[in-house]
């Protein structure tokens, strides 16, 4: 591409981030730098580091992030390798089932976990009925060994991000390289360590950084365990302090800076190690390894075990939606469908579904365009300052949703420069921008990984043969990175459908509610609230699950088609 075009894209992206990421954040966190009598001060920031509680919170958050990422790697890499290289019974369906953790609806997910792991929950009831536990002393799963519990739950929730990225990387990998190594006598384990692993490193990095940052700032899981000594919970608690405390904003700034530093460092280390450009492109079709039946079934079992563990909260939500009072029994006593009629027939629901689909679809499309543009600038050009764009696209992961939401709210009010985005009272554009900024990292990472694996020589060849840059992009680059884009787009779409903070603050009128706010609204119905909210949550789960199944099918076909060509 000519530099003029790339430069324009670069500046357009920079402008976008300045307006819709930096500005809203600054407008909310500036209180962290404003003294009692006005004027600039750093005393809030220094106080954060002087305070042992905040220091420990940061240390615990880092621990949580490191162990969660390691755990996810241990689960996701074997899963992805098996999926890409071997055939086993139930492969297609398991491939989409293994992604189900991503579709856990907010608010009710926590109640679902509690229904299973609570002191009078299903697990304890099961153990008691099997005489494995003393009914007088049930295990308090959520109250003891909290950090371990949090890490396990985090891993079970986040491994799909790595799984998607690693399997996209593996299917981009040229099997000929592995075959060549094998022909030269390289043992399988050496082959994996010396050939495969280095080549799929972009994918691991893509998923790993997202997992790491996500776990570093994870809020929901520590809250379920009532664990308050991590930074995310400290921020969450302090934001609600009725005395109007500016410290949470100082903590947000600290978290942002630390995240940016960790991200930059890991990137530097990775780039130093990775000198070979391009992971290659399938020059030959990958022939699936035909495992002996026993081993194939073992693979099926591995997938199934991971899935079953990961969908425990989903089971909880499903059973809650079907029961009136589920307590102290393995399964609810009576099942009823009445909550579904109550929830789906609620006047808020139909509109909220339409709204969510609209918001999430447009946001995902925006993400695909933005994400590819960012990735292209970062991977394919040498423009000075491209690292800034890269970091800006990743940082939304580390900012609490509510901070961004208040920023958007402030900049679109009457008299503010972005008031026109409000379209009267309709928050459509603002919500789409909010969703796409917050979900952009998934697409950026997947697209970058894809571009890194595709050798630029292919594009150069096309251009040498007289193809213009736009056509090269359309005919050569896009098809080659399609699996990565679909993987990132899927993540962006389903997380946008389940977005909470922005929706809570920005969609103020009932007619504009997305589905998450409808769930929140139903949750507070007296009596059957949690069951109603669970029913709507189950609906959302089924819908997202089917969407993913469809995408997995298309993705599968696409991969197959590419291998043939």
């Amino acid at each position: 591409m000519p530099t003029a075009t790339t430069r324009t894209i670069f500046w357009a992206l920079l402008l976008f981030f300045a307006c819709f990421f930096v500005w809203p954040i600054i407008s909310t966190v500036k209180t962290a730098f404003t003294g009692v009598h006005g004027g600039f001060t750093l005393s809030y920031i220094t106080e954060v580091f002087a305070n042992d509680l905040y220091r420990r919170g940061l240390a615990n958050s880092l621990n949580m992030a490191v162990f969660t990422t390691l755990g996810c790697l241990l689960v996701a890499i074997p899963l992805a390798s098996i999926y890409v290289k071997c055939d086993f019974p139930g492969k297609t369906i398991l491939n989409s089932l293994v992604l189900t953790p991503m579709i856990l609806p907010p608010f009710v997910g926590a109640i679902g976990i509690k229904a299973i792991l609570g002191q009078a929950g299903a697990l304890n009831s099961l153990l008691i009925s099997l005489h494995l536990m003393d009914p007088q002393h049930p295990m308090d799963w959520l109250g003891s060994g909290q950090m371990t519990g949090i890490v396990i739950m985090n891993v079970l929730h986040l491994y799909p991000i790595l799984y998607l990225n690693v399997s996209a990387a593996l299917s981009n990998l040229d099997p000929a390289l592995e075959e060549a190594a094998a022909n030269l006598g390289c043992a399988p384990q050496d082959r994996f360590r010396r050939i495969t692993l280095p080549l799929i490193m972009p994918g691991i990095f893509a998923g790993g950084t997202i997992t790491f940052i996500w776990a570093f700032t994870e809020l929901g899981v520590p809250l379920v365990f009532d664990y308050d000594r991590v930074t995310s919970v400290q921020i969450f608690n302090a934001l609600k302090d009725i005395s109007g405390n500016p410290f949470p904003y100082a903590l947000v700034v600290v978290v942002l800076v630390i995240t940016a530093m960790i991200y930059a460092t890991s990137k530097l280390i990775l780039e130093k190690g990775n000198t070979g450009g391009g992971g290659g492109r399938a020059t030959t079709g990958r022939s699936m390894i035909q495992l002996p039946p026993k081993l194939a079934w073992a693979c099926t079992a591995f997938f199934s075990v991971v899935t079953v563990l990961a969908v425990m909260p989903h089971f909880g939500v499903i059973l809650l939606s079907l029961s009136n009072d589920w307590y102290d029994t393995v399964l609810p006593h009576q099942l009823t469908l009445s909550h579904y009629f109550g929830a789906l027939g609620h006047e808020l629901v139909l509109g909220s579904i339409a709204n969510s689909l609209k918001y999430a679809t447009i946001a995902t499309m925006a993400d695909l365009v933005l994400g590819l543009a960012v990735a292209y600038i970062v991977v394919r050009t040498k423009i000075k300052g491209r690292e800034i764009i890269d970091a800006l696209a990743m940082l939304p992961l580390a900012v609490p949703g509510i901070v961004m939401a208040f920023g958007y709210l402030a900049m679109t009010r009457e008299g503010q420069p972005f008031h026109w985005l409000m379209l009267g009272e309709n928050p459509l554009i603002v919500l789409v921008i909010a969703y796409s900024v917050r979900r952009l990292p998934y697409v950026v990472r997947s697209a970058s990984a894809g571009l890194q694996q595709v050798s630029p020589t292919l594009e150069e060849a096309a251009q040498n043969l007289g193809c213009d840059p736009a056509k090269t992009m359309w005919r050569i680059t896009l098809p080659l990175v399609a699996p990565n884009l679909i993987a990132g787009g899927l993540l962006a779409f389903s997380f946008a459908m389940l977005e909470v903070s922005d929706s809570m603050i920005l969609a103020q009128q009932a007619v504009h509610y997305p589905i998450t706010k409808a769930i929140y609204s139903l949750l507070s119905t007296l009596g059957e609230g949690p069951s109603l909210a669970s029913a709507l949550g189950v609906w959302a789960m089924i819908f997202l699950g089917l969407t993913m199944l469809g995408a997995a099918l298309i993705l599968g076909k696409k991969l197959g088609a590419m291998f043939r060509s």
Binding site: G38, I242, D325, Y340, Q509, L546
Partner: protein, 559 residues
């Protein structure tokens, strides 16, 4: 016809090739069809309406539905206009943040565009500051302006929140143009605003703002919600009656509490607990044989002793605590599910939770009690916002909420004359005359008699009222921020056989005695200097954490 056949001929191989994809597509369509088929016949009024009333509220779905429908119906009958009630829903804390930030930008717009003046952050701080200098132009301009944020009514929250909103100038007693507002309502309905119906103050609590910028509509108080199964399992036969029952060592790790720094009404509940101990201390001193002190001296000594006793009790309860939350629904839910043995909760959540899990034989595993003599009964108010676009509608809604029709919704049984349509709301109306004998048979909580209960407890504002923020601060430093260490210390003390010396280490509270907190902590909190406040919090938290560590060391050494 031919075209269709040709189309089918073209589509068939495609359909065959993409069988699975089409299957998934059909499934997705089927899933989307569900809510479409089940959609309610009468859609949201938003599609066609004559007027719109915007109400900000933390109230839950059932309250919104009952009040919204009943009011819209009444209005339609009166004026034949169709109303659209546009609820803006969030938690009280979020709503307060939203109101403040909305007003800042609305006033900035007004200042720049209408008054043509230059804006600064200084003005942004000054205009909403009730303590701004008397000659502050920004404050004066704001207080006489009709600057609004597109919201007409604020419905629900705590009295403390409304006091803050009113002080900032966000709430008004009457609309300057139309004269609509609570002030006019009081003139129209003198029968409501008197001691027989809605007293200005009860048991030391304000029930409506003296300048009529807000007014209570329902009563609320804190109590103990508990799970009988869990208590029995833990070997506790007696059901809790007083706050002190929550300090039982057998309840370790099984208590759920609300965080007083997140909610003014929770801080208030802790204050009542301390006041109860003060009263008990005074009674003890009075009965002490051979004591010769004057009544004033006894009160003075009792207040000081009760302060420490109250804080010590709070500390013990907190040591048993599983978590401090700010989500009001979490605690009754956790208790009902058996994840906590007992917890602190707002009365109507406790009562609803009891009702929800009641079996056919009338027994329930969940119980709720408002500790007599240990809880204040305060109000859940309503108010009109400054710059309301529909002041007359706002006034009509407030009138409805205070009228017999609105008041009955709070506590009448569903289906009874004037009762709610679907769910019993289980809240107590604020007007005394609603508790008339003729009504009691329709009420779900007739035997609560809140105004009688309020008499059992005389609130002494002079003892602690000025220190409610100090109490919230102290609970935070000694128990919330240092929760982990406190729990560890308490566990070690219990395992070490409750050594009195170890307990003494854990409960070193002399440093925060009644007089020293007033001279040391009070001024820091009043200065609104957040850096100073957090520094003070850090120093005290470190101190408490050290004494908890000492308690652990001592108990382990003794074992």
């Amino acid at each position: 016809m031919l075209l269709a056949r040709q189309g089918w001929a073209l589509a068939r191989p495609f359909a065959r090739r993409h069988k699975r994809e089409l299957g998934v597509l059909l499934a997705i369509l089927a899933v989307l069809l569900g809510p479409f088929i089940l959609r309610p016949a009468s859609g949201n009024a938003a599609t066609r309406h004559d007027r719109r009333l915007v109400i900000m509220t933390p109230h839950h779905e059932s309250i919104r539905r009952e009040f919204g429908q009943a009011f819209a119906k009444q209005w339609k009958e009166k004026t034949s206009e169709t109303l659209y009630i546009d609820w803006r829903v969030a938690g009280t804390a979020e709503l307060r943040m939203m109101v403040a930030s909305d007003f800042v930008s609305a006033f900035e717009y007004y200042w720049r565009r209408t008054l043509n003046k230059s804006w600064s952050d200084e003005i942004g701080r000054e205009f909403l500051n009730p303590k701004a200098a008397a000659d502050s132009e920004a404050r004066a301009e704001f207080m006489k302006s009709k600057v609004g944020i597109g919201v007409d009514v604020f419905f629900g929250g705590g009295a403390y929140d409304f006091e803050k909103l009113a002080a900032a100038g966000f709430l008004v007693a009457s609309d300057p143009a139309t004269g609509a507002g609570l002030a006019r309502l009081k003139e129209r309905h003198p029968e409501w605003f008197n001691d027989e119906s809605l007293p200005a103050k009860v048991g030391g609590e304000t029930y409506y703002d003296p300048s009529l910028r807000w007014c209570g509509t329902a009563l609320s108080s804190f109590g103990i919600v508990y799970n009988r199964d869990v208590l029995k399992r833990l070997g506790i036969e007696k059901e809790p009656e007083h706050w002190s029952d929550l300090a039982d060592p057998r309840l370790f790790g099984q208590i759920a509490l609300s965080d007083p720094s997140k909610s003014s009404s929770v801080a208030k509940a802790f204050e009542m607990l301390i006041q109860e101990q003060m009263q008990l201390a005074i009674d003890r001193l009075k009965q002490k044989p051979g004591q010769m002190l004057s009544a004033e001296k006894i009160e003075e000594a009792g207040v000081r002793e009760g302060w420490i006793k109250g804080l010590a009790l709070i500390q013990r309860i907190c040591a048993n605590t599983r978590y401090f939350t700010d989500a009001s629904t979490k605690i009754p839910l956790d208790v009902a599910k058996g994840d906590s043995a007992a917890g602190m909760c707002i009365d109507f959540y406790g009562r609803s939770s009891e009702e929800e899990v009641r079996k056919e034989d009338g027994t329930s595993r969940v119980g709720f009690i408002a500790p007599v003599g240990g809880t204040a009964i305060s109000v859940d108010p309503i108010a009109m916002m400054r710059g309301a676009a529909e002041p007359e509608l706002a006034e009509a809604f407030m009138e409805f909420a205070l009228s017999d029709a609105g008041q009955k919704l709070w506590n009448f049984r569903p289906g009874s004359p004037g009762g709610p349509q679907k769910h019993a709301l289980r809240r107590l109306p604020v007007r005394k005359d609603i508790y008339a004998p003729a009504h009691l048979e329709h009420m779900t909580d007739a035997k609560e008699l809140p105004f009688e209960k309020a008499k059992a407890f005389t609130y002494h504002p002079e003892w602690t009222a000025s220190s409610i923020n100090i109490i919230a601060f102290l609970v935070r430093v000694m128990a919330v921020d240092s929760h982990h260490e406190l729990r560890t210390a308490w566990e070690a003390v219990m395992k070490g056989g409750m050594n009195p010396r170890a307990l003494e280490y854990m409960q070193q509270l002399q440093l925060i005695n009644y007089d020293s907190v007033r001279t040391d902590i009070g001024p820091v909190l009043a200065s609104r200097d957040k850096v100073k406040e957090v520094r003070e919090a850090r120093l005290l938290t470190d101190l408490f954490r050290r004494s908890y560590a000492d308690a652990v060391k001592f108990s382990r050494a003794k074992r």
